[in-house]
């Protein structure tokens, strides 16, 4: 086993996690420290009477339902919905790879055979959904779209995304595409015929979690190695890029944006 391999899969993952966490904290602090908001502070456009309940609901609807998008462009809506739900489910599924099967069974009651079924069917479906969603989004980005708004006249609204897409946009979608495709190839292509494949990976990952990195488990898994390498690049890239977009919701939060001013009509005397 050469030293570079050991460093890459045995030690770099720690550096990546450190960059990820420190980076996100750094970016959030940089987002939250500016106090100057333009003139009228951060009065949200979206929510009237933005109390905590309404704001929370608004944020959840935006994150999980993408509810503002159907009115804009259905391709974007469907692509985003599929892609994001696909990767969320797949990411949760990765917990089953990090935690070795013996613990899965004793902690959560998930037997190895059940785990394999879930990984194959749920994981496979989620990965496919994410892939389809991402392909829709990439196609939309590359080819552009025209949406028709029908009033009395028909307004053909061109969405020339190639004009608005730059290296960082393409890098993000390209690396995600590769990660998802390789993940799917393993889930659908390897795990059905190699029942021990998941265990090999989880042994490696668990060795990282327990701070005793052992990279020998995955030495014969080239697909996994590339998948993990790309994932590490992506994770390290995440905090420094617009991949931070999920965290933009802190700006809508009334804890950051001033809650709306309530008008008190009852106090009026005549």
């Amino acid at each position: 086993m050469n030293i570079a391999y050991l460093i890459l899969y045995g030690y770099v993952p720690y550096a990546v996690m450190l960059i990820f966490i420190v980076g996100i904290v750094y970016r959030l602090v940089r987002w939250l420290t500016p106090k100057g908001l333009t003139g009228l502070y951060n009065v949200n456009a979206t929510v009237n009477g933005d109390d905590y309940g309404k704001i929370t609901l608004e944020i959840l609807k935006r994150i999980f339902l993408f509810y503002t998008l159907p009115d804009t462009d259905n391709t974007l809506f469907i692509g985003s919905l599929l892609f994001h739900w696909g990767i969320w489910i797949a990411l949760i599924g990765h917990l089953g790879i990090i935690i070795p099967s013996k613990y899965l069974e004793s902690w959560f009651g998930i037997s190895p055979s059940l785990h394999h079924v879930i990984a194959l069917y749920v994981g496979g479906t989620a990965g496919t959904i994410a892939l389809v969603g991402l392909l829709i989004l990439i196609t939309r980005r590359i080819t552009g779209r025209t949406v028709t708004i029908k009033l009395v006249n028909e307004y053909k609204v061109r969405i020339p995304l190639t004009m608005l897409s730059f290296l960082d946009d393409y890098f993000a979608v390209a690396i995600l595409l590769a990660i998802i495709a390789l993940g799917l190839a393993q889930t659908l292509g390897i795990t059905p015929t190699h029942p021990t494949y998941i265990d090999e990976i989880s042994n490696w990952m668990w060795s990282l979690v327990t701070l005793h990195p052992n990279v020998s488990y995955i030495v014969a898994d080239p697909l996994l190695q590339v998948h993990a390498l790309l994932a590490m690049i992506f994770i390290a890239y995440f905090p420094w890029s617009k991949m931070m977009h999920p965290f933009s919701f802190i700006y809508i939060s009334p804890t950051v944006a001033r809650p709306s001013i309530k008008i008190k009509v009852r106090s009026v005397q005549r």
Binding site: P34, T68, T72, D73, L161, S260, V265
Partner: protein, 467 residues
């Protein structure tokens, strides 16, 4: 019109921009807010860049707009300026990109990858002029902010950029003149106290003739409430003013107008936050001077946004509350204090259209609907209602005469939404909406062969009020 208007070209609106205010006028504005403009020897490009980077570091809205946009284009299909003009620079993401490019050019990624990440290489006077052109074509309607999955608000970015442009002497003459009027005289129309009293006398007489009641309006006298109408109501929207006055009479409110603050608009919102605050303070001073306990704000969309979110908290520091007149109307209807007869507004099919800033950050969408239900027999709630509303097309400085070719285009969306649903009369309770409609409706009616009419909401209350 004295000058030939620029021709509208679909796909390229670079030829339409507001006339710029001259240095003398700007100097007057600067002195009021104690702003020392950069001297004539200053490199405007370097100044703009430095100020933009300062805003990027200190302003959350700019940071959010620059750092989280994933270029998905969701804003493109909702932005009235882009839908009707097809010029990508005249769109939320297109406009923002003009600024991102400058900031990118100063960041490590931009220095390494250059054009590939859209970092601007050559920032020159032409680029500055382009910024002026496209940032003054924005309506600041916040529809993009509503639809953007992350809430990126181009309107706030527009305000920031306009503010920096203002600092280097690039500002819409129309908006600057209006602000100057307001700061000088307490109203946008520069009405003198004598003119205000004359018009009030005339309106009171008309109300007497039409409704048979004698109403009294205090001017600059202590009262329970300070009444804030739009100065445009004293010229163009007399029916709205009558509605305000008759309603205040009907509920027995002890109120006064102030000749020092006879306005609802706050054009500081369109130019510079310092002027927004300066104008806001005019309302606060007038309210304190007259010792009122309440300030009643009349029909104006953007003005309500500035009032509710800046002026009301300031008033509360002195124990004064602020409400919109619609709140009082709803309260009066619910409490049975007024009687309304919808028959008085005839068999016309009305459509209520939300002014941008009532719906997007103004929390004033249900009150006008409640009132509509009581003052007309038949009205339509448009498909594009509440947060989805289309801007009238006149906001953000678009009322300038030279912007008319664009304003007409921007207006087509709400207009078409009205006529395709068979509306005969559009109700837009906002001073800018009404001014814009007076500009464009004649053109649009001609274009579409219709006879659409429009008014505010208090106009309808006036007719329906049984006194």
């Amino acid at each position: 019109m004295a000058h030939k208007l620029p021709e509208f070209r679909y796909g390229d609106t670079s030829n339409i921009k507001p006339h710029k205010a001259d240095a003398k006028l700007l100097e007057r504005l600067h002195s009021r807010v104690n702003f020392k403009p950069p001297g004539p020897e200053t490199d405007r490009i370097a100044y703009f860049k430095r100020r933009l980077l300062e805003e990027f570091d200190s302003n959350r809205n700019v940071k959010l707009a620059v750092e989280t946009c994933v270029h998905c284009g969701a804003c493109l299909t909702v932005c009235p300026t882009y839908i009707t003009t097809g010029d990508i620079k005249n769109s939320p993401v297109g406009r923002a990109e003009l600024i991102r490019a400058i900031i990118k050019g100063e960041k490590p990624s931009g220095k390494i990858f250059g054009k590939a990440v859209n970092a601007l290489r050559k920032f020159d006077e032409n680029y500055l002029e382009m910024l002026y052109t496209y940032y003054w074509q924005c309506l600041l309607c916040r529809k993009c902010a509503t639809y953007c999955p992350f809430g990126v608000d181009q309107a706030t970015l527009t305000r920031t950029v306009r503010s920096i442009l203002y600092e280097i002497g690039m500002a819409s003459r129309f908006v600057v003149t209006t602000i100057d009027n307001m700061e000088r005289t307490g109203n946008n129309m520069a009405l003198t106290p004598a003119a205000i009293k004359n018009i009030l006398d005339f309106v009171i007489k008309e109300i007497k003739e039409e409704k048979g009641v004698e109403i009294k309006v205090k001017v600059d006298q202590p009262a329970y409430a300070l009444f804030l109408p739009s100065s445009a109501d004293f010229f163009m929207n007399i029916e709205t003013l009558k509605g305000h006055l008759l309603f205040m009479h009907a509920i027995g409110m002890d109120y006064t107008v102030s000749t020092k603050a006879l306005e609802v608009a706050n054009f500081g919102l369109f130019l510079d936050p310092r002027h927004l605050r300066y104008i806001g303070e005019i309302y606060v001073s007038a309210a304190r001077e007259l010792g009122v306990k309440l300030a009643v704000f009349c029909e104006c969309g953007h003005g309500w946004h500035a009032f509710k979110n800046y002026v009301v908290p300031r008033l509360r520091e002195y124990g004064i509350e602020g409400v919109h007149i619609f709140h009082l109307v709803v309260d009066a209807i619910k409490g049975g204090k007024i009687k309304l007869n919808p028959e008085a507004n005839g068999d016309i099919v009305y459509m209520y259209q939300d002014p941008d800033y009532y719906a997007r950050g103004g929390d004033l969408t249900e009150e006008p609907r409640f009132i509509m239900n009581h003052v007309v027999k038949k009205w339509i709630d448009p498909e594009y209602s509440r947060g989805k509303t289309w801007c009238c097309g006149g906001q953000g400085g678009m009322l300038a005469d030279e912007m008319l070719p664009l304003a007409i285009q921007y207006s087509r969306l709400w207009y078409e939404d009205a006529i395709r649903h068979g509306a005969q009369w559009v109700v837009r309770p906002c001073s800018i909406c009404k001014a814009q409609l007076s500009h464009v409706v004649p053109h649009l009616n001609k274009m579409y062969g219709k006879d659409l009419k429009y008014s505010g909401l208090m106009d309808l209350v006036y007719r329906a009020l049984v006194v």
